[in-house]
């Protein structure tokens, strides 16, 4: 197994899209599932990335990721035709897809990537799909065309107003929820803080809300417990119990604190890597 990157696209300054050879994963994966990947085969960090799509015939999966730390920077530096260290998956429970009526899908930043296959599956199941896609600015807005193609209604927002409406995603979400015919389900995927505030909105309107959590993980199979979050007062493991949970039950504040566990070390690794890149002449 080589896990070759057959195509690579830079979607914005720090966001990359790669199609990777992983035929068994491509065949088995369902909306909502993720993979564990590593830039090299030995002591590279293992990171979870949600699968943004797959081509079963070609045997490839699509991953969209943001360059935030050393592992993602290393992956971003692998050229088209190069290979990942490994890909393991698909992991996590697939999204429960059924016809519920109207589904409002909220994607923030890179969260639009994992949202895409779920929104697609919801549409295919016969739902009316309203998509709200937000980004900090125009440059960071991704997958607009894909969402436009599948959604019955698409609302684009940016924090700075450089594209679409100048608003946070919660604003149009509140409006959609206030309509005479309320959505039957909300799905919110994005930064933890965004999911938290989306859930606060939908809670007021009693709209069931699914969120997809992307916590720190090692094995992704339930063995390490590093991904644990409190859901409804109980400890849940994102890798085997999730990654999707009832957003109204998730303790987001605690999750946000846990996400910072290694921030100093992660920063150190990234700095080291950037210095190393300069030395070997990469840009």
């Amino acid at each position: 197994m080589t896990y070759k990157i057959v195509s690579k696209k830079q979607l914005s300054e720090n966001v990359f899209q790669i199609d990777v050879e992983a035929p068994l994963v491509a065949q088995a994966r369902k909306a909502g599932q993720f993979v564990i990947v590593s830039p090299d085969t030995d002591a590279g960090e293992r990171i979870p990335l949600t699968i943004a799509g797959a081509d079963r015939k070609a045997g490839t999966i699509r991953l969209i990721f943001q360059r935030v730390g050393k592992a993602t920077a290393q992956i971003a530096d692998i050229p088209e035709g190069g290979a990942l260290g490994y890909v393991a998956g698909p992991l996590g429970r697939p999204t429960h897809i059924e016809k519920v009526g109207t589904v409002v899908c909220v994607g923030g930043g890179i969260g639009a990537a994992p949202l895409l296959p779920i929104a697609t599956a919801m549409k295919e199941a016969g739902n009316t799909v309203i998509s709200i896609i937000g980004a900090r600015n125009k440059e960071l807005m991704i997958l607009e065309q894909e969402f436009a193609a599948l959604s019955d209604e698409l609302i684009l927002v940016t924090d700075d107003g450089s594209y679409g409406r100048k608003a946070l995603v919660t604003e149009p979400l509140k409006e959609v929820c206030s309509r005479p015919v309320k959505p039957n389900l909300a799905i919110a995927i994005g930064p933890t803080i965004m999911m938290k505030f989306c859930c606060e909105v939908t809670k007021q309107f009693h709209i069931p809300t699914q969120v997809s959590l992307n916590t720190i993980m090692i094995d992704g199979t339930g063995m390490c417990g590093g991904c644990r979050v409190e859901v409804g007062g109980k400890t849940k493991f994102v890798c085997v119990d999730g990654p999707e949970f009832d957003g109204h039950q998730v303790n987001f504040d605690q999750m946000m604190r846990r996400m910072t566990a290694f921030k100093d070390l992660e920063k150190k690794a990234m700095e080291q890597y950037q210095q190393h890149r300069c030395k070997i002449g990469l840009k």
Partner: protein, 487 residues
């Protein structure tokens, strides 16, 4: 010639004349394991126990009385012909000794190191009984390790029977899976060993630290499997990448062995367990061992918090491993917090001893009530209660009873929870038709057959928490069943 060599020569001369009596054997001093200095080793990952010399091995072997009924063999889960291999060591025929061990055990270099011999073969040893002290038993494990380490891997690849045309899938490449893969391959089946991680070896690679079990030893065993023609597939999560049903119905496997090992780590269910700085032992050890976090920034990219003051909760071997790892990662103080007394600790005596030598502070009859955090959500302390021992409970161990009002705060910034594992839910989530008990462990019969035809299971997923040797024992039984059923 040093004193030990002189002693060995005298004893061998006596033996040659047929004059070596039991009382002479009792008089031989038990051979101590040479070890790295207890201070120097606190900063290194290399193996603590250095292994016997040839003279030591032969002296230790001469302590064996060669009992006609060999009670030691009864104590061995895989029934190694212990008495016979020890006789060969005494005679200096180390190759022969190893060959005898290999009749029953596939991983002698591993088992010689990590088996709890003191509650198995060595517990039954007549020499230990004579002295009414199990630590005086013949050091069977150290002898096993000695001859296993001499094995340079030049031995011929085990004989493989002609191809049967049958396919066996082994899920999990830990000790049980390795045994099943080897035994079914020997029978001529086409064998594929699946591993979820990117490196094979299971708990021997992610869990047991380098300083107790060097990873090169595990790699050697994996290499033997490869030489035998076992196909090893990593990054493959059975249940998710392919289900057991797909393996059998679509991929043509005739038999599947499930040896997926430990599952969800247990937590104490006390306030504060979600704070930053609280790890399961599985996470802590996986970061340190498999991902080599001790070399963070020097070739390894997985971080680990280097705590200043670390508390490890639990009293088993995993707790000892975690505590000793924390010492090596640079913690100033490492506390081992256990709610019973040292006598009730399930850890091996040797591990307890090593942990103490390395400066781990044992806090027995104490138990945490809650973990305290600061505004940033990081651990800043742990409130504990003191306990005393009451009447024996259903496990036969004296029940710890809390002393009211004995609360105190332990100054720690890292807490590692090492109180065992529940079953992994992945196979259960994805395999309808397979029978599980109420704890989520797979139900098997005496021959490791599950409720599904063609599916076998063993190790932690069946036993809950077991040891390397018990997993190997079950692997052996399962392989026998598979080989029988595929005839």
């Amino acid at each position: 010639m040093d004193a030990q060599e002189t002693l060995l020569k005298e004893l061998l001369d006596k033996q040659a004349k047929g004059e070596l009596k039991a009382k002479d054997r009792y008089a031989i001093p038990p051979q101590q394991m040479p070890e790295q200095d207890s201070v120097a080793r606190r900063r290194t990952m290399t193996e603590v126990a250095l292994g016997y010399t040839a003279t030591q091995a032969r002296l230790e072997a001469l302590r064996c009385l060669g009992c006609a009924n060999a009670p030691c063999v009864e104590g061995c889960p895989v029934r190694i012909r212990i008495k016979d291999f020890i006789t060969e060591i005494a005679a200096g025929r180390f190759d022969k000794a190893l060959a005898i061990i290999k009749e029953n055990s596939l991983l002698p270099a591993v088992c010689g190191r990590v088996c709890p011999q003191e509650v198995q073969c060595q517990e039954r040893c007549t020499v230990g009984k004579k002295f009414k002290d199990p630590t005086m038993s013949v050091s069977i494990g150290r002898l096993e390790r000695y001859v296993a380490d001499l094995d340079k891997g030049n031995a011929e690849t085990p004989h493989i029977a002609p191809p049967t045309g049958k396919k066996v899938a082994v899920i999990g490449s830990g000790p049980g899976g390795i045994v099943v893969a080897a035994d079914t391959r020997r029978a001529g089946h086409e064998v594929t060993l699946f591993e979820a991680f990117h490196k094979p070896g299971g708990v021997m690679v992610y869990g047991i630290p380098e300083f107790r079990l060097p990873k090169t030893i595990v790699q050697k065993e994996i290499d033997v499997l490869k030489q035998m023609g076992v196909n090893i597939v990593c990054n493959f999560i059975v249940g998710r990448t392919r289900t057991i049903e797909q393996l059998m119905k679509e991929d043509g496997f005739d038999a599947v062995y499930v040896g997926v090992g430990a599952g969800l780590p247990k937590f104490m269910n006390i306030p504060g367990e979600h704070l930053v700085g609280v790890y399961s032992a599985n996470e802590y050890l996986t970061r340190a061992n498999l991902m080599k976090a001790y070399a963070f920034g020097k070739g390894a990219d997985t971080p680990i918090a280097v705590g200043k003051n670390v508390a490890v909760l639990g009293g088993g071997n995993v707790a000892m491993d975690a505590a000793r790892m924390a010492v090596r990662l640079g913690a100033e103080k490492v506390y081992l917090v256990y709610r019973r007394s040292e006598a009730e600790m399930p850890a091996r005596i040797e591990e307890v001893h090593h942990a103490k030598e390395e400066g781990v502070i044992f806090c027995t009859l104490q138990n945490p009530k809650r973990i305290l955090g600061n505004d940033a959500g990081c651990v800043v302390g742990m409130e504990c209660l003191r306990y005393e021992l009451g009447e024996p409970d259903e496990s036969g161990r004296r029940r710890p009873v809390e002393i009211k009002g004995s609360e105190f705060v332990m100054d720690v910034d890292t807490v590692i929870v090492a109180i065992g594992n529940g079953a992994n839910p992945l196979i259960q989530q994805t395999t309808p038709g397979l029978e599980f008990n109420k704890w989520g462990n797979i139900v098997v019969d005496d021959n490791c057959r599950t409720s599904m035809k063609g599916v076998y299971a063993g190790g932690d997923i069946v036993l809950g928490a077991a040891t390397v040797i018990l997993a190997m024992g079950q692997g052996r039984i399962a392989a026998e069943s598979i080989n029988q059923d595929l005839k």
